[in-house]
Amino acid sequence: MFWPKSFNVRNRLVLLGLVIIVIMILAALLAPLLTPYDPFLHHLDEGLSRPSWSHPLGQDRFGRDILARMLYGARISLWVGVSTALVSLMIGMMIGAAAGFLGGAFDEILTRVIDILLAFPGILLALVLMALLGPSLNNVILALCLVGWVGYARLARAQVLSIRERTYITAARSIGATQKRIICSHILPNILPPLLVEATFGIGGAIVGEAGLSFLGFGVQPPTPSWGAMLNEGRQFLLIAPHLTTFPGLAIMLVVLGFNFFGDGLRDMLDPRL
């Protein structure tokens, strides 16, 4: 098992990150229990109301409860973050590991493809893809995955290149282990820890990516609640209703901080050299 003995929840950074992540997940899952309001229901006469006892985070221009929209928006953010990171990880790991292990023309082609994709700023590529594919939740995930797998592939390739020369791989070969067995039992489990750390940061990155696309109007479309879209909407009312911008941004920052803390702590625990 790759999990080191040094894993212990006393690590304050991981714990803090974990607490933020768990609170966010619980808030997203228990949204219907935590708020009595429908995130889609308009109360036009109460539009742009400031925070109050009945609406702790206030109401948007259509009178929708901001807390309810943020809780339901957390579902979108976490879903996009986790699914994008997982799919990108799987694709990147398989392609990168295959290139590193097989070498030759496949490796050469992959290196060039990675160079080409890295020549585009990630947000630009995602934006163009969203503009061409059309805005929808699935397209957001697809665009972010198409941009995101490259980093994992590069990391997986570098890891495999380093691991395949180790003596335990030579030993496995010498006792007649098949290539499939070497890859599945020896290489993949050993390249997984750094990739998991990268995926933890990737979740935060994907959440910001989704919010950024929605902020620009190319992500999740109204009336579906999305933190980025809420921020963009609130920007028009900065003067009279600053709470519309403040809370969704705070939520994005907190969840990204949570995943960054968790990733930092995880890296420290999984890498004994640090």
């Binding site: 080409i116 700023p121 980025g228 921020l231 911008t245």
Partner: protein, 311 residues
């Protein structure tokens, strides 16, 4: 160094061709008719046919590709559908504003990060260090599409110090540069701190102190000079990130740069303009990375002499 430069330039050729190919492939790979994307599904058949001919879409794919490559490599980015002006000229008009914003953001980042990182390293585990590290953590986690509106809210609306948006004098530049530069400042602060901590442990620093040099000379002349090589490399690498971040920052502050032009091209479904913007931004990105590599090569004798650095 010459060999290294030549190798990097040769490797650039497939990357440039690959970028152009990918930009070309956006059109045929994306589901639906590109004419629908540009004109909408309700366009008149005559307009559709005219546009199809103008973009050579009535020719086989390989011919379209060769025409596109030839034009792009000659610097011909076509004509904007809506503005009916050459794309190259439209982009050239916007580049100075983006360069101005990007360089200002980099300057802001360095001005914040270097003192913060050095002080943080000198006073390790003190409240200064903790404050700088808190800034570094928050700066990285805070998306610029939130920071921008927050800065507008505080400095423009409440204090009235800076204009809300637009392009003009120095006052217009402050908030966009802060918005764009904060994340870079956060990353640089961490890097400066760790780089200075490494250098401060070196023997030559002890020697410099033993010689009786003043602390200011030891820190800025001996420690910082050696510690700033990785910082400079990171500044170069982050410039590409600033270019990407400028897309959102320019939109928030109505800054007339290439990032905002890209968003305008997408909103107005102006495909030639979008292609031109993507190619320009990507090529600039490649150029920045190349210059960073070369600058790194100049500072590392193993690369300068054409040897592979030892891992």
């Amino acid at each position: 160094m010459g060999r290294y430069l030549l190798k990097r330039l040769i490797l650039l050729v497939p990357t440039v061709l690959g970028v152009l190919t990918l930009v070309f492939l956006f059109r045929p790979l994306i589901p639906g008719d590109p004419i629908d994307f540009m004109l909408g599904e309700t366009a008149q058949p005559a307009d559709r046919a005219s546009l199809r001919h103008a973009f050579h879409l009535d020719r086989p794919l390989h011919e379209q590709y060769l025409i596109f490559l030839r034009q792009a490599l000659c610097g011909d980015l076509g004509q904007s559908i809506h503005a009916r002006r050459p794309v190259k000229r439209m982009i050239a008009e916007r580049i100075p504003a983006t360069v101005e914003l990007t360089l200002a953001a980099a300057l802001v980042a360095v001005l914040i990060a270097v003192p913060a990182g050095v002080l943080s390293a000198l006073h390790k585990d003190s409240w200064v260090d903790n404050g700088a590290m808190l800034f570094a953590m928050l700066g990285v986690a805070m998306p610029n599409f939130w920071l921008g509106p927050l800065l507008i809210m505080f400095f423009s609306i409440y204090l009235g110090w800076f204009p809300v948006s637009g392009h003009g004098g120095l006052a217009h530049l402050v908030l966009p540069a802060l918005t764009l530069g904060t994340a870079m400042a956060a990353i640089l602060t961490r890097m400066t701190r760790s780089s200075m901590l490494e250098v401060l442990k070196e023997d030559y620093i002890t020697t410099a102190r033993a010689k009786g040099l003043s602390e200011r000379v030891v820190i800025w002349k001996h420690a910082f000079r050696n510690g700033c090589i990785p910082i400079l490399t990171l500044v170069g690498l982050q410039l590409g990130g600033l270019l990407a971040g400028s897309i959102i920052t320019e939109t928030i502050f109505s800054w007339p740069g290439i990032g905002r032009l890209t968003i305008t091209a997408i909103y107005s479904r102006d495909y030639p303009l979008l292609q031109g913007c993507v190619i320009t931004i990507s090529f600039t990105y490649i150029l920045i990375n190349l210059l960073t590599d070369l600058a790194y090569g100049l500072s590392d004798s193993r690369i300068r002499l054409g040897r592979e650095p030892v891992a």
